[in-house]
């Protein structure tokens, strides 16, 4: 192998690595706060990519319809919960108005905005912002519908529920987007040469946005009250509740962040590689392998693991492309062996 090829592969690895790093961080975040292994994270990537593509192509972004539907379901669930609980029932008027605002009016506002934007030639940042606005609120909605009723269940039950949610979103993805793949316009079309190496500006965008996101998350967790509340919930759920942090609120917040990150990942990779309705699962699992390297607890370890996965993928794609996935997913066995021997995570279940 000559140096140019190696440099190309490294560049590819870094670009997809940046996306896996974000995925891994999101997965660690949601696991630490809610003990949920969030397999449907990959579907947010897909939804993000297809929504952006629809906005660029002047088509109706179906995800906006889904958002309205999910909002309506959450509203029904909240109304039922309010009416069943005598305490809440007394203040039902105000509570329901608040829920109607969050779960009915807001999705409809987004829907109308999307309707107004369809067919307009929006600038790129506006397209991205609208995509995030359409897809990311599904995160907390999903938490309310699927996971909150199970909040006290074991990790295992939550994991099985995650698989159920993954199947639903995957099927809906097929209904909304069809079996054809999409590729979106790059943020910037420029390629430039660095010596003999062609660097695509899109890869730089991916790495840059990813790094900014990681930095933003760091600041959020270190310096903001809600970030600290999330960390407290991750360390000790009961303790957090005793000092007044609602675990359901923490869950919704974590899901908002995760959905936001997932959608952003979709926006970032859609210009580099074609995304299909079922691409999310594999992307998510590669993030997972990275997160497992960090044993689902450490952010820097998870990020390092995700980069490692991407490099491995990039180089095995060159040497043994047919066995790319085999190599990446078999990596988990030696990694687990290593983690197991290191004994970082004892046998203490729950």
């Amino acid at each position: 192998m000559d140096l140019t090829v190696a440099a190309m592969l490294v560049q590819d690895g870094i670009a997809s690595g940046a996306v896996y790093v974000l995925m891994a961080l999101a997965l660690v975040l949601v696991f630490a706060v809610t003990r949920i292994i969030f397999i449907p994270q990959g579907e947010f990537v897909v939804f993000g990519a297809f929504t952006l593509s629809a906005l660029q192509g002047g088509q109706w972004p179906h995800a906006a319809t889904l958002l309205v539907a999910m909002g309506a379901l959450v509203f029904i669930a909240e109304t039922c919960a309010t009416l069943r609980n005598p305490d809440l029932r007394r203040r039902a008027g105000r509570g329901l108005a608040w829920h109607a605002g969050k779960y009915l009016a807001f999705p409809w506002a987004v829907y109308l905005l999307a309707a107004a934007a369809t067919g307009q030639a929006l600038p790129m940042p506006a397209q991205v912002a609208l995509t995030l606005l359409i897809v990311a609120p599904m995160g907390p909605f999903l938490y309310r519908l699927a996971y909150e009723p199970l909040a006290e269940a074991s990790t295992l039950v939550l994991l099985i529920a995650s698989v159920g949610v993954h199947l639903v979103l995957l099927g809906l993805g097929l209904v909304m987007f069809g079996a054809e793949g999409v590729r979106t316009q790059p943020f910037s079309g420029a390629d430039f040469a660095l010596g003999e190496l062609q660097v695509s500006a899109q890869s730089l965008w991916v790495v840059g946005v990813s790094a900014a996101m990681v930095g933003g998350l760091y600041l959020y967790f270190e310096h903001s009250l809600s970030g600290k509340a999330l960390r407290a919930t991750a360390v000790n759920r009961r303790g957090a509740r005793l000092v007044g942090i609602g675990t359901a609120q923490a869950g919704k917040l974590a899901f908002t962040l995760v959905a936001l990150i997932g959608t952003l990942c979709g926006i970032l990779i859609a210009p580099i590689s074609t995304v299909y309705y079922d691409s999310g699962f594999l992307i998510c699992l590669k993030g997972f392998v990275g997160a497992i390297v960090g044993a689902l607890v450490s952010y820097p370890m998870a990020a390092g693991g995700a980069l490692l996965v991407a490099m491995l993928e990039s180089f095995s794609a060159f040497y043994a492309s047919a066995f790319k996935e085999v190599i990446v997913f078999t990596l988990i066995i030696p990694v687990l062996l290593w983690r197991s021997l290191a004994g970082a995570h004892g046998a203490d279940e729950e």
Binding site: L169, F323, V326, I332
Partner: protein, 592 residues
């Protein structure tokens, strides 16, 4: 004829008659697949429903079974039976490897590892030249069963359903045995099982391998039913579907697996036909409905269909303690007054915090020693150091002259120390008798880890008789004899604590360690407990108990050890301790 047997017998006859009657071929095919899926789902019932672990990679094990026999029988022209043997061997090896690397980690690593492994294997099948890449292998010969050529669906039907019934019987036998009770104890948290002498990591590994073997067996049958293999049915999606079947049917019940496999197979077939007819679009939209069903089941009916159906059937007969079984051999007990537990300057630090500060005390045979102190004094930590739940930072604990340092709690149990728990740890759905029999885990006829095959083949009758009658004997001893066949969860808290003592007595201990036995008990229950401990002492038992309740320990114990802030502040007879100024200071605060 026994009334209980009527329904199963009728089902068996109906199953056997179906292929002989003019049943449409479609139904036979459907039933064949239900049988194949049931085998895999049954493994998941054992793994997930009973053992509390799970796997999304069962389809990969089905694939190993199918590809092994396909390669050996179609490509190399060998007998399908050799293919079966090879498939099972390779499966066991792979499952053991995956199990080994994940069993020591917390529970969610196994399912994640199995997803990754399932994906890897799917792509491997699809890319290997000698396995025919994504086209797979065709032209498999039919299975030849002692001259009976199982070429048609109607013929292999019998082999498939015989396998299902045998597997169900095997699992039923296994779960109602000594190793089976160890498997069921896994769900109650590993600490209890380990304290009863169960090697939990080994037990988890065993059930993972067993579940994988069932899947591999199903793969073998599947390959010879279809007479061809390709990678698609072995992808992770199918692995998810298998788990789904087990959840629908009722993840804790063997027959739930069959029910779940049946319901899902029929439902899938119906939906695949109905949705395109209704909407005019094709695609596998049934996954939306499956996913929704899965989440709703977990939210509203975690016990599945069988859980609901079971209430309509007569309750199964609980395991009975047979009369006249030979008694288990007993270990040699220490003489009265002999030193049995010697705790010398043990220390436990958590980071900078010294939880137990060089504490020493002794227990002699035939006495009751109380370890008391205010909240946070380090009593429970000391207790955990003695039972091997926590490793000591420094110091030595000797039991009958043998150091216990570094031994896991199951080894400590083997040496003759029985224990109970501060928060009662029993399996509420099991009978009182079976719960107590877990305590006798180390006293079976087979090695503690062994006896699996004997249990499956019901060759363990002598062992079962001895263990269950020992459990019954200990229940009589503690006065719970009349509650033997009730569900443990239905007892009052006081009785549950006594049950734990009976369970501890089942390991034939010379020393009992009781962690706050009187906590949460009513006055009468405390009296009954004190009487029981008094009686055990009279029989020569030594007891070390951690306790809060002063009245309880003052009247019962021979000696008291008082701790405060991790340090021993007093030791002596109850009357002396009560007069000790340091103890008064610790309990009531100093006199200003």
């Amino acid at each position: 004829m026994n009334k209980r047997l009527i329904v199963p017998a009728a089902c068996a006859v109906a199953l056997a008659m179906l292929p002989l009657l003019p049943t449409p071929q479609f139904w036979i095919t459907l039933l064949n697949y239900v049988g194949l899926y049931s085998l895999v789902a049954m493994g998941l019932v054992l793994l997930t429903g009973v053992g509390g672990l799970t796997s999304f990679g069962q389809a990969a094990f089905v694939g190993i079974g199918a590809y092994s026999t396909a390669y050996l029988s179609a490509t190399l022209g060998l007998s399908p039976w050799l293919g079966l043997a090879a498939g099972l061997a390779i499966t066991a090896l792979c499952a053991a490897l995956i199990g080994l690397v994940t069993m020591r980690m917390s529970g969610h690593f196994l399912p994640l590892a199995t997803i990754a492994w399932g994906l890897a294997l799917y792509y491997l099948f699809g890319n290997l030249e000698f396995l025919g890449k994504y086209d797979g292998i065709t032209g498999l010969p039919p299975i030849d069963l002692l001259g009976w050529d199982l070429a048609s669906g109607r013929d292999i039907y019998y082999l498939i359903w015989a396998s299902v019934l045998l597997a169900a019987l095997a699992l039923h036998n296994l779960l109602n045995s000594r190793p089976g009770r160890a498997i069921r104890a896994l769900k109650g948290g590993g600490t209890m099982a380990e304290a009863m002498g169960v090697d939990t990591a080994w037990t988890k590994l065993t059930i993972f391998v067993l579940a994988a073997l069932l899947a591999s067996w199903s793969g073998w049958l599947q390959a010879h039913l279809q007479r061809a293999v390709n990678p698609t049915p072995f992808s992770v999606n199918y692995g998810i579907e298998y788990l789904f079947m087990a959840v629908i049917g009722g993840i804790g019940h063997i027959w739930g697996a069959v029910l779940g496999a049946g319901v899902l197979t029929v439902l899938k077939d119906a939906l695949q036909g109905a949705i395109p007819r209704l909407t005019g679009v094709s695609g596998h939209f049934e996954i939306i409905i499956f996913g929704l069903l899965l989440v709703l089941l977990l939210q509203y009916a975690r016990d599945g269909l069988w859980g609901a159906l079971r209430k309509l059937l007569p309750a199964p007969e609980p395991a009975r303690a047979p009369a006249g079984a030979p008694a288990l051999p007993k270990r040699k007990k220490p003489r009265h007054g002999e030193l049995i537990l010697d705790v010398r300057e043990v220390r436990k630090e958590f980071g900078g915090l010294v939880a137990v500060n060089d504490v020493s005390f002794q227990v002699r045979a035939g006495e009751i020693v109380g370890l008391i102190g205010p909240n946070g004094a380090g009593k429970s930590t000391t207790f955990n150091l003695v039972t091997g739940v926590l490793p000591a930072t420094r110091g030595e604990v000797e039991y009958r002259g043998e150091p216990l340092r570094g031994l896991p709690s199951r080894e400590i149990a083997r040496r003759g120390i029985g224990r109970t728990f501060q928060h009662v740890q029993l399996l509420p759905a099991m009978t009182v008798l079976e719960n107590v029999a877990i305590g006798a885990h180390l006293r079976g006829d087979f090695r503690p880890r062994g006896g699996l095959l004997a249990s499956i083949l019901r060759l363990n009758r002598a062992e079962e008789a001895k263990l269950l009658s020992e459990a019954a004997r200990q229940l009589e001893r503690v006065g719970l004899g009349e509650h033997m066949y009730k569900e443990a969860g239905s007892l009052a808290l006081g009785q549950q604590r006594i049950l734990e003592i009976a369970r501890a007595l089942c390991c034939d201990p010379a020393l009992l360690l009781l962690d706050e036995p009187a906590a949460g008990l009513r006055y009468r229950e405390k009296q009954a407990l004190a009487e029981l401990l008094d009686k055990l002492r009279a029989e020569g038992m030594s007891v070390l108990l951690v306790e809060h309740d002063m009245d309880f320990v003052m009247n019962l114990t021979d000696r008291l050890v008082v701790m405060e802030f991790g340090t021993r502040i007093a030791e002596g007879r109850p009357a002396e301790v009560r007069a000790d100024p340091a103890v008064i200071e610790a309990y009531l605060g100093g006199v200003e």
